[in-house]
């Protein structure tokens, strides 16, 4: 292996002989330490704390009124848990862009396609239901900027 | 090559600091706009596009004007422009970045901007505008950077760069034509519904852009060791002269059609801008200053004596920049929206936060321009050394 230093323009002078030395080691280590600190900074405040698992409450008046057997959402609970996000987006497309406002689930039950008027009619306790899981995983679905959740409305009515 | 941007005089760093400070100020107010809404500006239901879009329109013109130095050099072998093509291209890069930023700042929901690509709509001129602007930005970055790098290593630019250069010439014309088509196809806006909109845009672009380039060349000569060249500046001055003359002529063509046909739909916007209607006439002094100033500048520029003296040339170029800016940056928007389609008058004036956000975007553009010019000028100095 020669000491000839080659690049794409052709041969250059011989590779310069530079002593191997780690320059500015103190500052490099300091910088790395600061960077590492920044990277783990979100975890530090929660170290050792136990955050309770989310417990969404289903004891709204509307749900209590239904018989035990009938207390099922538009789709089975496991499906809703995994897919309500995509389902709401599909519902949105159906209503706004296609004008279809009736949802027929695989069991043949019919529902009006509406977040505020169907979902929130039964689940009228947003802070105790929706927010439970959403806060736990730190997501902020932006539905509520426009869509009214019935819970807030009741609170506003009381305050006014 | 970018390493040249990190070494400079105190004056260079001072300039960068001032521009960065102005940008930070604008950014702070933009955050406020994001939370409280576009109501922070002076726009409203009747004048729904204002200062931001006006600046965007003006700067698209400046960006397109790079073609005025690229075309003579690459298509017609006008060797003298070899010194300034890079300055023109980098000015285009900076101007297009400002354009795109102004559009982003004007959006009601900037978080949803990618919907334009998610749901492409070829019948919308805005869809095409976004595409052509971004491609033009990419073209100029690629071309400018590669040609500069080749110049540094004293090799001819590769074939694919030449191809992109030839594409960029009609592309430059297209960006400003597409921007004009944003306005020229709207049935309800008599001030804008004219076939001459695109030609007017182009003529004022080729007046304003090269004027700015002349001023930048004079600054570069004064503050660096690179001289863009007296002949080059004189050629640019000739381009400014003819473009300004054509721009004034186009304006008088518009005035004739509108005032001779006496059709109220078109007439009332000119009446509002130049005489005021029902006591509303905020822009009257500005419009008269613009058109009279532009005409005088054009006529003076015809005389070679005023062009050869670089002080008067600089003054006249500055005049062209100011008057074309008033015409496009103030008059175009307001004239289109006032009176509104119901023939009611709601006047418009930018608010302080709006002006500061706009200033911040201009500062961003000039910050990028300073850095790019530093790189270009350093390479040129190095090559000529």
């Amino acid at each position: 292996m020669e000491d000839k230093y080659q690049n794409e323009f052709g041969g250059f002078a011989e590779k310069p002989k530079v002593p191997k030395k780690f320059y500015d080691l103190k500052y490099i280590l300091l910088g790395l330490a600061i960077f590492f600190g920044l990277v783990i900074s979100p975890i530090l405040p929660n170290l050792g704390k136990i955050v309770a698992a989310p417990s969404p409450k289903l004891d709204t008046p509307a749900i209590q009124k239904l018989a035990e057997k009938e207390r099922q959402c538009v789709m089975p609970t496991p499906y809703m848990r995994a897919n309500h996000m995509q389902m709401l987006i599909d519902w949105r497309e159906a209503v706004v862009r296609n004008g279809n406002r009736e949802f027929i689930n695989p069991e043949g039950k019919k529902f009006t396609v509406s977040l505020s008027n169907t979902c929130m009619e039964c689940h009228s306790n947003k802070t105790q239901f929706c927010d439970q899981c959403h806060n736990f995983v730190a997501v902020t679905p932006n539905c509520w900027g426009c869509h009214l959740d019935k819970e807030q409305k009741v609170a506003q009515g009381g305050a006014k | 090559m970018l390493e040249n941007a990190f070494t400079g005089t105190k004056r260079y760093y001072g300039l960068l600091a001032i521009l960065a400070g102005l940008f930070a100020l604008g950014f702070f107010f933009y955050l406020k706009q994001l939370t409280t809404g576009l109501g922070i500006t002076g726009m409203g239901r009747d004048v729904s596009w204002g200062f931001y879009i006006a600046q965007f329109t003006y700067l698209v013109g400046v960006a397109a004007s790079a073609v005025m130095v690229v075309l003579p050099y690459y298509l017609h072998n006008y060797k003298a422009f070899g010194r300034v093509t890079i300055l023109g291209e980098f000015l285009a890069v900076s101007a297009v970045i400002m354009c795109v930023t102004f559009v982003m700042v004007d959006m009601g929901r900037p978080d949803r901007v990618l919907n334009v690509f998610k749901y492409p709509t070829p019948n919308s001129v805005m869809f095409w505008d976004i595409i052509v602007l971004n491609v033009y930005l990419l073209l100029n970055i690629l071309i400018g950077w590669n040609v500069l790098e080749c110049e540094r290593h004293d090799v001819p630019p590769p074939g694919w760069v030449k191809f992109l250069i030839y594409v960029s010439i009609p592309w430059a014309i297209s960006i400003h034509t597409v921007t004009a088509f944003l306005y020229a196809g709207l049935p309800g806006r008599g001030y804008w519904l004219t076939a001459i909109m695109a030609p007017r845009f182009l003529s004022s672009a080729f007046a304003a852009g090269p004027s700015l380039l002349v001023l930048l060349c004079l600054l570069v000569r004064k503050y660096t060791r690179f001289d863009p060249g007296r002949d080059q500046i004189q050629s640019l001055a000739k381009i400014v002269t003819y473009a300004t003359l054509i721009n004034v002529f186009f304006f008088f063509c518009e005035v004739f059609t509108v005032f001779y046909s006496q059709i109220p739909d078109h007439l009332m916007h000119f009446q509002y801008l130049f005489w005021g209607v029902d006591g509303f006439g905020r822009l009257v002094p500005f419009m008269w200053f613009s058109i009279i100033g532009m005409t005088i500048a054009a006529l003076l520029l015809v005389n070679p004596k005023f062009r050869r003296d670089e002080t008067t040339l600089a003054a006249l170029c500055g005049m062209v920049i100011i008057t074309t800016w008033i015409d496009k940056g103030l008059g175009l928007m307001t004239g289109g929206f006032v009176p509104n389609p119901l023939e009611k008058i709601t006047e418009y004036w930018p608010t302080v936060p709006e002006a500061l956000i706009a200033l911040g975007v201009w500062a961003l553009g000039f910050l990028i321009l300073t850095i790019l010019y530093k790189v270009a000028v350093s390479i040129k100095e190095e090559v000529r050394a």
Partner: protein
Amino acid sequence: MGIDRRDFIKLAGLSTLLGLGGNSALELLRPGQVAAALEAKPEALTAKRWAMVVDMRQLDEQTAQKCSAACHQVHNVPDFGNPIDPAMKISDAEKVRWEIKWIWTAPYDNAFPGDEQEYMDEKVKDLKFLLLCNHCDNPPCVRVCPTKATFRREDGIVMMDMHRCIGCRFCMAACPFSARSFNWKDPRPYIKKEFPDYPTREIGVVEKCTFCNERLAKGLMPACVVASQGALAFGDLSDPKSKVRELLGSTFTIRRKPFLGTNPQVYYIV
């Protein structure tokens, strides 16, 4: 490590493509695809071409205001002159700028600019015409929207998709009838009585009359039509027996700016 730059980039690119492709393959094969359906409600009102006839002979200013109020009420349209918290009061100039109106009144020379005559019937000159989005057949607003957030439905309604709107306001510039409003500020502090069955809007989107498509889907007539006590007729132009066809066939009607070719579908009987 004997790999050179070119081969590394090739390998990285290929891996990325496979990774992305692999993920979508997983999505397609994932269990949980259910057989559910989304359809129109059976009681929905349908038409081939919705249109409205405004009979100004029967519409006095008071009723017109009632129509406007009904529409704005059921659609949570804010009233910037009436904040919930009096501390949020705004100036008159700001009120004019930020105003949101889906349906409103204007005198003849604003409703039909350029049509007014000096010696016309005073009654007509002072008449407060009810103005709204015309749901044109050839809408310039739909032509210019870069995301199809505003689109023309098969039944003629020019719809607004508030979820997709990027707030560029190109449609506002394109509309020759000034029918569209933009949310310059958060509207919620200015909605005194929220209507719970319809959403509000957020800052940064455009809104306008949608011919009450949410009511039509439930089998109800638009709110303004109901409030107009018969002055507003709403129906299907393609049905020769509909009220609107009957009126159009028997009475002379005018439309706003027909010469622009947008083909507006709101007709006025003066």
